[in-house]
């Protein structure tokens, strides 16, 4: 996973609430067995016309937003399926940060695990940032994860919250498994205790599935 510390980038506004995971990446593009390469299918229905040509009206096809690494959007972003292909597709098209008033739970978790920082800010502040997006090709929004601050093009700062553990993993670019494996002894103990308390607890044996 790529580290995340300071990101200074073009931000694109997606002025819709409830952007669902089917919109971010339609199910027919989930047939890959790799994580990479999904960027070209992101927002497919909005981004391309029926002949597969870019739809010029769609914001992420326009300059400078086609180079955006930050999305500013509205409530309940990422609702719907648990497909991690959604953050993979965003990441593959270069998105490292999504700012919205709220996120769907699974998408929110999936983002962190792929080096994308989801930031929750009130709608009014999102609207200010949307105005910043419109300041032209040279305007940048800066995200400083260590300080938990957004720096607007005019130099003003906006503080944001982030879970301390998630923050550290992002800063280090470290995966969760390594973190959890520090607790292997505790997991062993949990399993032993369960064997004692629930001796009836069944396991799944392959031979019963394929007799």
């Amino acid at each position: 996973m790529e580290k995340f510390d300071i990101l200074s980038a073009i931000a694109a506004p997606l002025l819709e609430a409830n952007i669902d995971t089917d919109k971010i990446i339609p199910a027919r593009f989930l047939k890959t067995i790799q994580r990479s390469g999904l960027g070209k299918f992101a927002f497919y229905a909005q981004r391309y016309d029926e002949n597969g040509n870019e739809n010029k009206d769609f914001i992420l096809n326009r300059e400078p937003y086609r180079h955006a690494q930050i999305l500013i959007t509205y409530e309940n972003f990422g609702c719907g399926s648990s497909r991690e292909h959604a953050p993979w597709a965003l990441l593959d098209m270069g998105i490292r940060c999504v700012i919205a008033p709220s996120f769907a739970d699974i998408f929110f978790n999936n983002s962190f695990k792929n080096g994308i920082l989801p930031i929750v800010l009130p709608r009014a502040i999102c609207d200010q940032l949307v105005e910043d997006c419109k300041l032209g090709a040279n305007a940048r929004i800066t995200i400083d994860l260590k300080k938990q601050q957004i720096i607007r093009p005019n130099g003003e700062t906006i503080d944001f919250d982030v879970d301390p553990l998630r923050k550290q993993l992002l800063l280090d670019g470290m995966d969760d498994i390594a973190q959890t494996l520090q607790y292997v002894k505790e997991i062993d103990q949990f399993e032993e205790k369960r064997k004692e308390n629930q001796p009836w607890f069944p396991s799944i044996q392959s031979k019963e599935l394929n007799p």
């Binding site: 199910a27 648990s82 997991i187 799944i204």
Partner: protein
Amino acid sequence: MKARTLFDKLWDSHVVEKLPNGTSVLYIDRHLVHEVTSPQAFEGLRMSHRRLRHPEATLAVIDHNVPTTDRDQPIAEEQSRQQIEALQRNVKEFDVPFIPLLSDKQGIVHVVGPEQGVSLPGMTIVCGDSHTSTHGALGALAFGIGTSEVEHVMATQTLLQKPAKNLKIEIEGTPKVGITAKDIILAVIGKIGTAGGTGHVIEFTGSVVRNMDMAGRMTLCNMAIEAGARAGLVAPDEITFEYIKGRPFAPKAKDFEQAVAYWRTLATDEGAHYDRVVQININDLEPMITWGNSPEDVIPITGKVPDPAEIADESQRKRKQRMLEYMGLKPGQPIKGVKIDAIFIGSCTNSRIEDLRIAAQIAKGRKVADHVWALVVPGSGLIKKQAEAEGLDKIFKEAGFEWREAGCSMCLAMNPDRLQPGQRCASTSNRNFEGRQGPDSRTHLVSPAMAAAAAIKGELTDVREMM
């Protein structure tokens, strides 16, 4: 001891370690795996030279991609075939229990888990699929995870999680004839919205739920995710235990009695705290149907398509206007009588034997309208077999429905079952998102009875007129 909810008890009994930031290492009892969200997780294990900590707590099945016809033939679609073959290779390499495609037991992962007795009360159950919430109907904490988490569970048999809040949805009243669990859950989502349950686990309670069969409870919990909740729950009771008894992987004899004794302790204690309570009375509930592209866009079949002009918030108004355009509907138009091109009976929401029986009752002795493509896809091979033993397949086929093999099929159209652009479908599945059943497809979510009725009439219709 403090009074606790069902969720609190499930959570507490699986905490391995509490971390300083409020996250816990949570033990996972069952991991269900399918072909779409697992290949990158197996790849991750391979790259880091890790193995599954507990293959015998894991069950893999192919469901999302599979064709529902000609199962003995090679899979035509290249990428689908690759994904399926990847899972077949991976389960061999990592010793994961696996249900092969041609087994009777094959089916939709959320139908197979309960059917095989793999999913049991008191467990934590995860799968790389949001509709894992279905298994909550058994009184298990069951939720969908992403592929990184799939890999995490494979490697550690745990997840890093924060506790959810408790939301109680109390359903009271007496349902009128023709009202099913699907109508109830659509009404609930209409009431609380698709973000209404965010950060919460929903426990469904009340006399309606207590009297509901397991299939209905699974339909409720299945769509808890469409209300934004992390999971849905129903307290295990006699109906649950009766359902589990004798299933292949359920505890047997003395073990079963011991298990039941434990499962009885799981129900919410008197006086336990819920962060939020929503009460719904279903005395006057009518068959429900969605008109838009979010499951919260729901109206009774006797209702009219809402007028977005009445919405004050601009982005919300534009969104609903866009939906009407996409769905090809007009504000104020009665939803009843809108012509359809297809119906789909199936999916982890509504493909159990009970669902097929209700639909067959409506189909019996009638004919599907000439212009309608009607698809019935059982949730598992065993359900298909049971339905055939009861003669339901004959009823469907004689009426002009297509009778297919088990799989996810046109719920998300990853296999060849999909709508043409612009086609309109009455569907028993769970999502009416843009493009869900094929590019530019139009989906109306309904109960199995309503879908069967729509097939016969050739338009969206009130099933009660046909009962």
